[in-house]
């Protein structure tokens, strides 16, 4: 449930603070950024460990390769940029990171239409879809600051490449402090019998809020956090199929290829369940305040509640 006693925090901020902390404990961590250190929050690490921070300039492709080279000398590199810019250099990630088996941690911030005013060119909307296709690549999206911190530490020891998607905007805390995070596990957050809502990233809080509002109207949906989109927790989903027929995915990403795509693939292969994919449909993003964008793309708690209800009743 949403912890209203704590101020909402952007997951990029939680990432930067965590990395700066972990730098002491893990001397093998190195950080690269492509002229966005102030936005990705890698500047917090840079300020503390200038010798292990590399400014790579506006050269995402070169940064990806250099990150791979560092990984091949035993370092644990976190390479940081906006989600759209870093995953836009898909072939470099495909070859120099994934195929080379260089254990780079790729940080993509400014996920989705939630970034607001900068508009479509800066919005990561297809990054999950791209990264999911790469063998051995983990695709992760924490839902709040607590989970971000746990995830980043877990990743220091992870033996494969990973992509981590973070928000620009503040998001409410939904996990208790100290919650452990495990790659490949779905975390149930609220029980319910009418449908299963699988939410990921910046819209997790809104999904919970929508579910709570519906509760009062007699619609009882279960909500779970899918922060590990790949590997996907299919064992948990298979169990969930025993209690639910209706599945709803919620994400600030294209429904094509994102969490919605991943769950659609799972359900189709199981030959079971009915699915509503909520996210950004097959259209471009645009400028506006983050609130206006969420209203326009129908990701606010009120819009989500309406969609959940219609699907449950339909």
């Amino acid at each position: 449930m949403i912890d209203k006693s704590v101020k909402p925090l952007a997951t990029r901020r939680a990432f930067g603070e965590t990395l700066a902390k972990l730098g002491e404990k893990y001397p093998e961590i190195v950080v690269l950024d492509a002229d966005l250190a102030k936005s990705t929050m890698s500047m917090l690490f840079a300020a503390k460990f200038p010798n292990r921070f590399f400014e790579m300039g506006i050269q995402e492709a070169n940064m990806i390769g250099a990150g791979a080279g560092l990984a091949l000398t035993g370092k644990v590199p976190f390479i940081c940029s906006f989600a759209c810019f870093v995953t836009g250099r898909f072939d470099q990630i495909r070859m120099s990171v994934a195929y080379t088996q260089a254990n780079v941690r790729i940080i993509g911030t400014h996920a989705g239409v939630g970034i607001g005013e900068d508009g479509h060119s800066q919005m990561g909307l297809e990054d999950i879809a791209c990264m999911r296709t790469l063998p051995t690549m983990a695709v992760l999206q924490p839902g709040d600051d607590v989970e971000t911190a746990a995830m980043i530490e877990e990743l220091v020891k992870y033996p494969h490449p990973a992509y981590i998607r973070l928000t620009r905007q503040n998001v409410p805390r939904v996990h208790k402090e100290g919650t452990k995070f495990a790659i490949g596990k779905i975390q149930p957050l609220k029980p319910g019998k009418d449908a299963l809502v699988l939410a990921s990233g910046g819209v997790l809080g809104n999904s919970l809020e929508a579910a709570e509002a519906l509760q009062k109207q007699g619609v009882d949906v279960e909500v779970a956090n899918v922060s590990s989109i790949k590997p996907l927790d299919t064992a948990w989903l298979r169990e969930a199929l025993k209690r639910h027929k209706k599945f709803i995915t919620v994400e600030d990403h294209y429904v094509i290829g994102g969490l919605g795509g991943a769950v659609a693939e799972f359900l189709a292969e199981e030959g079971a369940g009915k699915l509503l994919r909520v996210g950004v449909n097959d259209v471009f993003g645009q400028s506006g305040t983050p609130e206006e964008c969420y209203e326009h793309y129908q990701l606010t708690p009120a819009h989500l509640a309406k969609k959940f209800q219609a699907f449950v009743r339909g």
């Binding site: 190195v30 390769g65 250099a66 080279g69 560092l70």
Partner: protein
Amino acid sequence: MPKPNPQISVSELEKIAKDLRIWSLKMIHAAASGHPGGSLSLAELITAFYFKLLKHDPQKPLWKERDRFVLSKGHGVPALYAAMAMSGYFPEDKLMSLRKLGSPLQGHPDRARLPGIEASTGSLGQGLSIAEGMALGLRLDGIDSMVYCVMGDGEIQEGQVWEAAMSVPMHKLDHVCAIVDWNKGQIDGQVKDVMNIEPIADKWSAFGWNTIGIDGHSFPAIIDAVEKAKANAKRGTGKPTLIVADTLKGKGVKFMEEGKNAWHGSAPNQEQLDKAIAEIQAGGGQ
């Protein structure tokens, strides 16, 4: 089997380069596909590195203190596989499994399948960035190893190469030594007609590199240039080195030299292979 040896003579290297050429062509023939032109142009360069210049141990491919050798022009890998087998990374009989299903000798280098391959390449333009990261990591650890990166001349048409060309000197990575195999050919024609990259050395000098132009088929010239790059690294000049190796695509086999880009990516048949081997053995490679 010849052993890597810093004291090895030029005449011994020349013998090894002949065998490397023959192996490359036999492998490509057996696979019925591959890139003979750009493998043959590399023969002296790769021989010089694997049998004289590189600090490496074929028995310990992951030795931390080794020099790194990144073949960014992944399509030239038959020459690299031959050098690796002949220097002891794996048995020579494995060479004939090139491009066969399940083989560690993939059509382009695969680091995860074959110990000793430093990076998976074959999508052009990416090796120098990886070399940069390796040099950054080695410097952090205080390891005094060189990082070599061999690129094709057509390959440097890729934009990412120029990102790295700008970034390596910026990070003062004097232990990076890049080599351009300037064999003048690419798939669609002559490099100067497809997308001109000249003047190569001037461009890299302007980006802050020491540049050295050599005959890429002359062992004394290759050795001298690489020793200069090492001395530059030892002095800590902060400047990386670029060697422009003037080479001939298909070098050592007359019909391949003359056929130019026809032999970029096609395998010789049995008759052509026999003719090529006879010519190499007779000394056509020198």
